[in-house]
Every structure is written in C-alpha cells, then in structure tokens.
C-alpha cells in the first residue's frame, strides 16, 4: 500500500509506534492520526453508505470525514487528534458487541 501524503520537512522527529488494522505503523511525534495514517496508507475509513474508502477532506475539524475508531471502540477525529505511543486504530467500524 502506498501512502497518499508525502513528508516534505520535519522528518527528524522521534518515532512513535502505533497499530493500524493490526499492522505496525511508524508515526512521528507531533503527527495527527490523519497524517500518520495517510503517510503510511491510502484511507482513514469507509463511508457508511457506499462502503467506499475515504481519507478526510477539510483537515480543520469541520467536515467530520476523518473519523476513525480505536480498537476498544472510541471514535476519534483523526485530523485534530495527535498520535500517542501504543495507539491502536481501526479503519473499519468495530462490530458492536453486547456487554
């Protein structure tokens, strides 16, 4: 999978290990979740209505098209949430299980 984004500067930052759909992804300190996922890959989520891939749009917290899930089911807005060590993201909605 090729990434959509390309880093053009600020590449000397400390690395942060996160997990995306079970795969290890190396992000850099200060990355948003959106940046980390789009440098490494080509999508953030799938639209609920046509199941097609989406990769965000406005990057400023307005369009809400960059929402991803953590493995334990929390929804995050990828463009305005920074990566943290050990973050585990899924790009597909976690099936709801009865408690």
């Amino acid at each position: 999978m090729t990434g959509l984004f390309r880093r053009v500067a600020e590449t000397g930052r400390p690395e942060i290990a996160i997990t995306v759909d079970g795969h290890a992804v190396t992000a850099l300190e200060g990355d948003t979740i959106l940046t980390a996922l789009l440098v490494a890959g080509d999508r953030l989520r799938f639209n609920e209505f046509d199941k097609m891939p989406r990769a965000g749009f406005c990057l400023m917290g307005a369009c809400q098209d960059c929402r991803v899930w953590t493995e334990d089911g929390h929804e995050l807005r990828a463009c305005s949430t920074s990566v943290t060590p050990g973050l585990r993201i899924v790009t597909k909605e976690v099936p709801w299980t009865r408690p």
Binding site: V8, F57, C58, A62
Partner: protein
C-alpha cells in the same frame, strides 16, 4: 460588583485581538479554542517540536503571524485560555461547552464570536475519492504537518487561496501539475477596482501567479470541472486525474495523485444562529450572514461578531474587527473606551470591505455549475445525498426551500451539518425550482454544532 464575564470564541486573528483588547481594559476574558494551539487556521501553528521558521510557514504574512503568536503568549497570564474546547450549544445566557469529553456550561455577560470560516465547496463527480482535499486542508497539511497531499497535485477552484497554496507547495519542492481556476480573466478584471484598494496584497497575488508560471506550472482560467477520475492500484483507490473543460468547451485530462479544491470561503455562523441573531441575505457572496453593524454588534445585546465568521474579509481585517468588537462590547457595558481608537479601526476596515467586494467579483463562486451537476454526483459527502436526490426534493416532493429538502432527502443532515454541502445544495434546489438563491434559504443550525461523544461527563446546570 463582580467583573463581567466576557467570552471570546476562537483564537485566530480576530479572537486574539479581541481578547488582547479586553485584557488591556483590565478584564480577564475566557477564550474558547477548538484547536490545540492558538493561531486559528490562517496563522495555525505547527506542533511544538517542529522547527521551521515563520517565513517558511506563512510566506509574506510571516510578520503578522509571528506578532499574533507573540502577543498572545504575552497575554497568557491575563486571559483564561481554554484550548481543545468547543462551544456546541446555547441555553439562555449560557454557552454549552465540551473539552475532552467533559461538559460544562459557561454564563456570559458579553460574547465575541470569532469562529472563522471553512472552504466553500462546489462538488464535482469524484470529489469524495481519497486524495481529494479542500484547499484549506491542503495548506494545513503543509503548514501544520509538513506534508504534501501528494507528489503531483492539481489545485482547482477559485480565489486567492488557490494561488497561495499552489505557490507554497512549489516552495516546499512539490510542483503542482496544474492550477485550474473557474474564474475567467475578464471576470477578474471586473474585480480589479476593489482589489486595487489593497495594492500590496494584489501585488503579492500577482507575484505568486508569476512564480508559478515561471516554474512551468500549468495555469488555466475560465475552466469548468468535469470530474475527478479514480486511479486503482491493487487495493488502492484514489484520485488519479482531473477532467476539465477550458473556456472554449474543449475537454482536457490532467493526471495527478491528489486534488486540492476550494472556491473561496464560507463563514461559520452556527452559534450566531443558535443565539437567535438576525440574518440577512448577502448578494455579493450569495450567502445568508448574521447582521452586524460596523463595529460587529449583532441584533442580540451583548453578542458581537468579528473576523471571517461575520463575512470573509481575511486576516488583516479580522485583527482590526476583533479589537473593534471588543471595544464596542466594553463601551456597551458602560466602560470608558478610546473613541479615537474605534474611529481608527473603522477607517482601517473600510478598504477591506471594498477589497472583499473585489474578491467576490473577481473570483466568484461558480454557482451556475450547480445546475449542471449530473444527477449521480454526491453533494452531501456525509450521507452520499446526490444532486438527483435534491432535485427530487425540489420537484416531486415540492420543497420550497432547503430545510424542507433536508427533511425529505437528508441533505445537510449528516455529521458536518451542511458545512460542506449546504451552499451547493441550496443552489441545486434554487435552479431546479427556478427560484432565487435567497428564496432557497439557509440550513438552520442545530445543537450540537459539531458531533459530541455519546458519553459525556459532567452535569449541565
């Protein structure tokens, strides 16, 4: 008597100067900022561990950006700054807020809303593909994350931001494949009268265009977007080309790996709407905007608007308008203010109004495109409501205005609440019914103005 509680929403150019003015008058304003760091969008700051100098980030506006950031840092001890805090609703004279899942309610005596703007979007087939971003978003990727949206982007739309973003990408070593402007050269000449009111800004824009042309970037004006085509490579599905028509109607196809699109800006007006401020139709921008007087006072006592959230005039105007709204707020509270300073700020804003008119005339919102969008074009990207769905609401379902259409086919009902689709949706409805855009109306705001976590802590009193 307790000191009055003045709340400033937003910490961009307008919000920062408003807060500074209030602090200078001896008050301690509360600043609610959705972002992690002060600066707003145009002067958005990079994360603390990034090292690029301001000249790399803000180009010709570096000095203004730096001054805004430095002045804010000097204010820190005299304001109650609340980052990552969203004002999502209103109840009487209380603002309902949320910060990292914690709910709160904040009573105010005075409120200055400096909520800014987002890109104004005209959809086209394929605009929901991965790799298509708003122009503002393309700039944020570069400015705040040191990333390009692709290696060979096309920038499409209209307005000064189109050329600024393309130029910034070029400076960062990413050569745009093309800059495609829907406004024609003749149209732009018509805007020149207003644009000339700010000669330095006009000259800067012309310099960006000249630099792009000299570097061999394809610049085309008077174009019409046809569609963004997908590129499929194994499991990857993303933007691969832009198909567009030139002024003579000939079709072109430009290969690319990303698209940045935007057609000027639209004001964020939801909170003014929830506060029941009066709105009026603005023929220049074809948008419904909150009514303010020359100082930013709204129809509701104690509520003021400043910056692009009150109409698009840009960052320099926002700084003056923020300070002016704060002075007016103080004056309305019976506090002494320097009348001379208010007069100076009003005078400073005058050429900004003419310039704004020049921008809207020279780089107009291509509203006529809406009527020609194919029926299967997605307009609402949240819920995939199409142009055909909106036409069905306009015709067979007989919706006289956009809120009825929203009820019938859910245009503007999704998570973004019509921020991306509302203006284009109203244009499609107006064209389908043969009514004016003014008659098509505006999507009524509803709380929460942005999604809240389903599980939110705290009691709203």
């Amino acid at each position: 008597m307790d000191a009055p509680v003045i709340v400033v929403i937003g910490a961009g150019p307008a919000g920062t100067r408003a807060a500074q003015t209030l602090a200078c008058a001896g008050l301690r304003p509360v600043i609610l900022d959705e972002n992690q760091r002060q600066g707003g969008q145009i002067y958005r700051r990079q994360p603390k561990n990034f090292t690029r100098p301001a000249t790399k980030l803000y180009g010709a506006s570096a000095a203004s950006a730096t001054a805004l950031h430095t002045d804010f840092e000097a204010l820190r001890s005299s304001v109650d700054y609340r980052p990552e805090t969203m004002a999502w609703g209103v109840s009487g004279d209380m603002l309902l807020t949320e910060c990292r899942g914690q709910a709160d309610a904040l009573r105010f005596d005075g409120l200055i809303i400096a909520s800014g703007a987002t890109d104004r979007i005209m959809p086209c087939p394929g605009w929901t593909l991965p790799g298509v971003f708003s122009l503002g978003g393309s700039q944020i990727a570069l400015k705040a994350q040191a990333c390009a949206i692709g290696q060979a982007p096309v920038f499409m739309g209209t307005g000064p931001l189109l050329y600024l973003v393309a130029w910034q990408y070029l400076q960062a070593g990413v050569k745009p494949r093309a800059v495609l402007d829907t406004s024609s050269l003749t149209t732009r000449l018509r805007g020149l009268g207003g644009l000339r009111r700010r000669p330095a800004v006009l000259a800067q824009g012309l310099r960006y265009m000249a630099d792009l042309a000299r570097s061999g970037v394809t610049l085309r004006s008077g174009i019409r977007p046809v569609r963004v085509e997908a590129r499929q490579d194994g499991e990857t599905l993303c933007a691969g080309a832009v198909v567009w028509k030139d002024g003579r109607g000939r079709t072109h196809r430009t290969e690319c790996d990303a698209v940045g699109m935007g057609y000027g800006l639209r004001s964020e007006t939801q909170l003014a709407d929830l506060l029941k401020c009066d709105f009026a139709f603005d023929a220049t921008s074809r948008q419904w905007l909150p009514v303010t007087d020359r100082d930013g006072a709204t129809s509701r006592a104690g509520v003021y608007l400043a910056g692009d959230g009150a109409g698009i005039r840009g960052a320099d105007a926002a700084e003056s308008a923020g300070a002016l709204a704060a002075l007016r707020c103080l004056q309305d509270m019976g506090r002494p203010v320097m009348e001379g300073e208010m007069a100076r700020l009003r005078a400073a804003l005058k050429p900004m109004n003419a310039f704004r008119h020049g921008l809207e005339t020279g780089f107009p919102w291509p509203w006529r495109h809406a009527a020609d969008l194919p029926d299967d074009t997605v307009v609402c990207r949240c819920e995939n409501v199409t142009a055909g769905d909106i036409r069905r609401a306009a015709g067979p379902l007989d919706s006289p205005e956009i809120n009825r259409a929203k009820a019938f086919v859910r245009v503007g009902m999704g998570r973004c609440q019509g921020r991306m689709c509302g203006l284009a949706g109203a244009e499609i409805l107006a064209a389908a019914r043969g009514i004016t855009i003014e008659e098509a109306g505006r999507i009524r705001s509803a709380a929460p103005v942005k999604p809240l976590p389903a599980k939110i802590r705290g009691v709203v009193t």
